[in-house]
């Protein structure tokens, strides 16, 4: 439906037993742990210097339309500089929206890995469900999305080089996106 997404068709899927798939899957689970714990400096270590982290605004369009994300508008369209600033802000003593911190849980599932034309890079799809709870009397919030990642091997380690997050809601039911997906 959406033309803005990377297209897995034509790429060679890796079997679930393939060591490269297992490694990619482990990367996502390890990353999830860091995001849940808000260990953002460690998370930044898992990103390549040329990271592109993109979360377009999802929109409701007719099935016949050739798009289902907002033309030109995203929630995140970040590079390493802006991601580092976001992390640095959470590390100050004055980022009120996360102090006290949210209780976060990133559930990662539906992981599929694909070979790309570049042997150092894997294309990995996953689904993410984020649970976020703040304080004691607010309803918790969920965010559901699909992710399309490029994982690149650098110095023997997989790193996240590109992430496209397609949210499942057009109107975000969360007070802000002071989180990462």
């Amino acid at each position: 439906m959406a033309t803005s997404r990377m297209d897995a068709a034509g790429m060679k899927p890796l079997s679930f037993g393939d060591p490269r798939h297992l490694e990619a899957h482990q990367f996502l689970v390890d990353e999830s742990y860091l995001l849940d714990a808000q260990l953002y400096d460690d998370w930044l270590e898992k990103l390549t210097e040329d990271i592109h982290y993109l979360v377009p605004v999802r929109v409701t369009t007719a099935r016949s339309s050739e798009f289902d994300t907002s033309p030109g508008m995203a929630h995140f369209d970040d590079d390493m500089y802006s991601l580092k600033l976001r992390a640095a802000r959470f590390a100050t003593e004055h980022a009120w929206t996360e102090d006290p911190p949210s209780r976060l849980r990133h559930y990662i599932t539906n992981v599929r890995s694909f070979e790309t034309e570049t042997s150092a890079e894997l294309f990995v799809q996953s689904a993410v469900l984020l649970f976020r709870s703040r304080g004691d009397n607010r309803e918790p919030n969920f965010l559901s999305a699909t992710r399309e990642d490029i994982l690149r091997r650098e110095a023997g380690m997989l790193k996240l080089a590109k992430r496209l997050v397609i949210m499942d809601e057009s109107v975000v039911r969360m007070q802000n996106l002071a989180i990462f997906l």
């Binding site: 980022a95 607010r138 002071a178």
Partner: protein
């Protein structure tokens, strides 16, 4: 709700009953007295540049298609089929020559005209049973555009928009007319916060006092060089007719030097020079004030800011951005924020990208400023629903003495219209809530009822006021 006249009197003297931020009865009054007869921003013309382009927007529960018809005219139509009331257009944006109802297949041209009615002869005996000719989707009662901004008022006898806007237009130009060709917008981002709509509107209207505390973190990380306490209190607060805003005092310099200081290039400044009046230019050049946040009553706010966007930039290299938003009420305790990025249509692609990046870093759903704002507003709204909040009057009298005199005199040589003060003060929040109180108090008019395109005046559908 406590006694209405007492509540309004408290609001007018700047003592705000805390419960007005979380009260079903207050919200019911707001629906009828404010949202059914105020000018509400729906869309910008640049969102629907080509014939057939449309977006779908709301005023509370009322859903409208904002479309550009084949003749290029902007139409705002109630998104409800004349037959059984189904929502005609169920996408939020796209391009269509016609809208066809999914229930029984009635179809409408993108100017609203009813053109298709299946089995018209068999079902109605043709025109005799149902007059198709001349029928169209219900048009929005009152529509106006200004600098490409499309406003709608549910009151067919609304005060004309330009009259309502008054001299606030002077300030709106800074955000939405940086060149003769105007601006283009991206967005909106849409998200819901468990906050009463008034809190955001008040904040943008005049709360320069919150910046040093709420937004301390963005200064600490070097994203923004301005919002320290000292800088903010040097800015002027202005209120003019139905809107007001905050400004920053810039270092000494000319009109051009000061615009350069916030990151505009000479070619952009050239265009501003030719689109803004001499008085508008003097506000920057002579008075040294740069517009920052603003609100036009009731729910339309704007922000102009100049963060450091580039990793390799010098300390002083900033890029300005502009955003506008609507605080769309969902209930007494919930608001949907629709937030757009605005940029001069004639700016270079390079500037547009950098400015957009600045917007995403600072405002909107992920903005590092805005993230902390909503945390506060959600908390206020939640507490305002309790019984203790009914006993508490929040002090919104900053800038006034006990005898209602301003602590500092209004600026005598300010080049903008309205009344302006330098220093911290809640002049604008009080002005906004005074406008709110006036609306709440104003009796309701008779409601015009529309039956299949025919106007029938109902004599007492709302009791004819109080």
């Amino acid at each position: 709700m406590n006694d209405l006249s007492l509540m309004l009197a408290d609001v007018r003297r700047g003592m705000i009953p805390a419960y007005v931020y979380n009260d079903e009865e207050v919200f019911k009054l707001e629906k009828e007295h404010i949202f059914e007869r105020s000018w509400i921003f729906l869309a910008h013309e640049s969102e629907i540049p080509a014939p057939g382009d449309y977006v779908v927007r709301r005023i509370l529960e009322d859903n409208f298609i904002v479309a550009r018809d084949e003749a290029g005219e902007v139409r705002v139509m109630f998104n409800m089929c004349l037959h059984r009331g189904m929502q005609i257009c169920r996408a939020e944006l796209g391009n269509a020559s016609h809208f066809r109802c999914s229930y029984h297949g009635w179809s409408y041209r993108n100017d609203g005209k009813l053109v298709g009615l299946p089995f018209h002869n068999e079902a109605y005996g043709g025109e005799d049973g149902f007059t198709k000719i001349g029928q169209s989707l219900l048009p929005a009662p009152s529509v106006a555009t200004f600098n490409g901004l499309i406003f709608v008022n549910l009151d067919p006898n609304a005060q004309p928009f330009l009259e309502f806007l008054g001299d606030f237009a002077f300030y709106l130009d800074f955000y939405t007319k940086q060149s003769g060709d105007g601006v283009e917008v991206r967005g909106p981002q849409r998200w819901r916060v468990k906050s009463n709509w008034k809190i955001g509107a008040e904040n943008a209207a005049g709360d320069s006092y919150h910046t040093p505390q709420t937004h301390r973190s963005v200064v600490e990380i070097g994203l923004f060089r301005e919002p320290t306490g000292a800088k903010r209190k040097e800015g002027a607060l202005y209120w003019c007719d139905k809107g007001g805003g905050t400004t920053y005092k810039l270092p000494p310099g000319t009109f051009r030097e000061r615009l350069r200081y916030v990151g505009y290039s000479d070619e952009m400044i050239d265009r501003m020079e030719s689109s803004w009046s001499l008085e508008q230019q003097r506000l920057i050049g002579d008075d040294g004030f740069m517009i920052s946040a603003a609100t036009l009553f009731p729910t339309f706010s704007l922000v102009h800011n100049w963060p450091k966007v580039d990793a390799n930039a010098d300390d002083d290299e900033v890029v300005p951005f502009i955003t506008m938003r609507v605080w769309q009420p969902i209930s007494a305790t919930e608001t949907e924020i629709l937030s757009w990025f605005i940029v001069d249509k004639n700016a270079t692609e390079e500037f547009k990208e950098a400015s957009y990046k600045g917007y995403l870093m600072c405002f909107g759903s992920t903005g590092m400023f805005e993230q902390d704002d909503v945390e506060n507003w959600v908390s206020i709204t939640s507490l305002a629903g309790g019984s203790m909040a009914r006993r508490l009057l929040l002090n919104s009298r900053m800038g006034l003495t006990s005898t209602d005199k301003p602590l500092n005199k209004p600026l005598a040589d300010f080049h903008g219209p309205g009344l302006a003060y330098v220093g911290y003060g809640e002049f604008n929040q009080r002005a906004l809530l005074k406008e709110w109180a006036d609306c709440i108090e104003k009796p309701l008019d008779e409601t015009v009822q529309l039956v299949m395109g025919e106007k029938v005046v109902a004599s007492d559908s709302k009791g004819g006021g109080k």
